[in-house]
Symmetry: C2
Subunit: 196 residues, 2 copies
DNA sequence: TTGAAATACGAACGTCCGTTTTGTAGACTC
DNA sequence: GAGTCTACAAAACGGACGTTCGTATTTCAA
């Protein structure tokens, strides 16, 4: 754990920079300056920019899982986990876990048309995993009779995610607090009208 | 109209490039190559990159208005215009009016943490105007008795926009068609449960 | 104490960036 | 037809980019 100390600190800073400037806007020189090292020192750990970007995505995924996903396993399955996930996501954004907002949404919309950036697949993969998790939790809640049996779990996931996306736009407009309020109301409404 | 012909063709290409690579990723050399001109020729029309970016945002706004906003004025006020706006937005995205998807959503999430980019304010301004339009149409529909009187028009705008954002994520995941289907269903559901 | 491996510096490379300057065609005006 | 103006090409600038390399420092084992 304490091994590779500098590699970890490089990654932690790089993740924050990438969340603000984008995965493509991330520069080795910028990272070097941010951690007070030389560019050569960075390249010793990450032989190419693509390698650094891949490691950054992986690290961001760990952070996201720790902040949003893992809290649900302390709760009973079904609807309770769905509520916990929603709350955790709002907390994750409010806490500015990533300085630039939601790392993966930023990255997905940044890279979706740039097939030459290798990290694109990794970003999409992580994003898809998150959506599948929401859908799985909905299926679970349906099976337990907590959500309506006829509910389309895919559409449920779409609408729950969409509320989170709305917050990001409101944040971009400088109305973060209003965005949270609207998204919480919308999410809650979704859960209420999906309840059995 | 035919005046400043090359300026217009530069802008049209620059808008497309910016929608794919981002407003910050837009480069004068790239634009020059795309329109088969020299960098100096570009700089003759746009004395600085910031000037070019500002003109690109303005041009993108014109395109967006023409594709999404103007069609509603051919329709009767109220709910009908709301439906038309929604349809026009889906058509606008499906037609790949901008190669990179939704120019303004991309730009907003790209720039929301980069206060050093001058175009940020213009992007946020255009985005806010679109949201206000949705809200105004909702108020209009409420006043005409087409939507419920207790409806929160701000929340309505939030949820309608959120569905559009969902499509953009699905598009980023390579599931554009499914995204359209889910968003149409969600938008329609929103209109149905908001109806008087 | 010595040797080897790990670590990071600092300089250099070629490329691209935004910008400025200079040169040069072709179209206007007088 | 000489002068002027516009539109663009071409070249160069300083700087930042990603990457490579030689070297100095540190760490640890033998």
């Amino acid at each position: 754990m304490a091994r590779d100390n500098s590699r970890e600190s490089i990654l932690d800073r790089a993740v924050q920079i990438a969340s603000v400037k984008g995965l493509d806007g991330l520069s080795i020189g910028g990272v070097a300056a941010a951690v007070a090292m030389s560019k050569g020192g960075i390249c010793a750990h990450f032989p190419s920019k693509a390698t650094l970007q891949a490691a950054v995505v992986e690290r961001a995924a760990e952070i996201f899982r720790g902040a949003v996903v893992e809290p649900i396993f302390a709760r009973p399955p079904g609807l309770e986990r769905l509520r916990t996930l929603t709350d955790a996501w709002f907390s994750y954004l409010a806490a500015e876990t990533f300085e630039g907002g939601c790392f993966f949404t930023n990255a997905l919309l940044e890279l979706d048309n740039l097939e030459e950036v290798e990290a694109r697949g990794a970003v999409a993969g992580q994003y898809g995993r998150y959506l599948d998790l929401i859908e799985r939790l909905a299926v679970e809640a349906i099976a337990r009779g907590e959500l309506r049996a006829e509910l389309n779990s895919r559409r449920f996931a779409f609408e729950l995610l969409s509320s989170q996306l709305g917050v990001l736009v409101w944040r971009g407009l400088g109305k973060t607090e209003e965005g949270f309020a609207l998204a919480r109301a919308a999410s809650n409404d979704l859960l209420v009208r999906s309840a059995a």
